[in-house]
Subunit: 199 residues, 2 copies
Amino acid sequence: MKDVENNADRRSRRSRRLLEQSFVELMREKGFTAMTIRDITDRADVHRGTFYAHYPDKFALLEQSIRGKFRRLLERELPPDAGWEPEHLRVLIRTVLEHVRSLYGRCSPVAAVDPLFEQSVRDELFHLLRRWLGRLRATRDDRQVDVDTMALMTSWSIFGAAAQWSKSYEGVSVEEMTGRVHAVLTEGAGRFAADPFRD
Amino acid sequence: MKDVENNADRRSRRSRRLLEQSFVELMREKGFTAMTIRDITDRADVHRGTFYAHYPDKFALLEQSIRGKFRRLLERELPPDAGWEPEHLRVLIRTVLEHVRSLYGRCSPVAAVDPLFEQSVRDELFHLLRRWLGRLRATRDDRQVDVDTMALMTSWSIFGAAAQWSKSYEGVSVEEMTGRVHAVLTEGAGRFAADPFRD
DNA sequence: TCCGATTTGTCGGGTAACCGACCCAAGGGC
DNA sequence: GCCCTTGGGTCGGTTACCCGACAAATCGGA
């Protein structure tokens, strides 16, 4: 269980796969709070102890599940060679907007899982953006800004916009909102900073 | 791997299940001779060494597959509490007849697997009959005949009839043949033995 | 309230499965 | 002929998993 997630032992990968699969099934059958650890492990045909070897509790599995769903969504929308370019940014923003709305739209199922979900989305977003920016830096490394910080702030800004929009921007369409967010990211704060007293 | 087949370690059972499943899929995709051990293990996501921990070669897996199919067929046709009774015997005979015909009907795929198939069916049949006869013996144990021998001979006789019928009894229907076999088993050799010179 | 049942989380000992490497045999192409 | 690939089969060292049992926590009903 050294490199958790993908390139680990065959058995390790299989166990995680089986557990997550059972979890998803049980999620729609009886919901998060109703299911027990034993429910999950019984269905996965895995010893209960094995569960604790991979996850500290149910919430960790829920988080992996949410994260995985979001990641697959991004992989489906974006080309495999996507990077920090206007067109790909547009797609990314729109995907996040819709994903956040689809989970905020329905009254949040359990209040406890809410911050978990937010964290997952932001984190996934952060890693994607850092990868993009990292490759950018490789070509023209005359940048002063720190890549990690840039990725972090961008992920928060996109997510924040999505959250706010999905809650209270009833009249604004996805396209419109995507445009606004995109504009901020590309035109950016630099414009304002250059002339703070413009207005 | 102490009690091979059912009640063994979870991991053991899972491996066998995965391997057999992959085998069945590959069987209809590229056939028996074409598939390699690596094909099977790759698809099952199991280490190649694990295969040899369970089966000496491909043929053993084929045999398990055939045997399993036949067993499931019997379980579907017969009630769970079936025993040595005229009605259940009828069903058993008919099932064997049709099963044998369904595999002899098509020109036998590989000549090498032919005896393997015969052995599997007879063996499965033998164990079922022995179970039936064993329970019978528990109630009225005035029998002189050995249960194992009885079961063995019965299994051979039923299978033999089925094999012969599926090959060359073109005009005889399943019902008709079932009746003949059933008559022999119930009326039996006892009739003739009592009066060998009757005719 | 207390009690029994269920669930959670942990642990030690044992083992099936993993991994990588090995040798050998059977083709197939040069 | 030769080499090179491909598949079969084995082995030693390592590891993730299994099993059963345990105590602590949680919960629902008497």
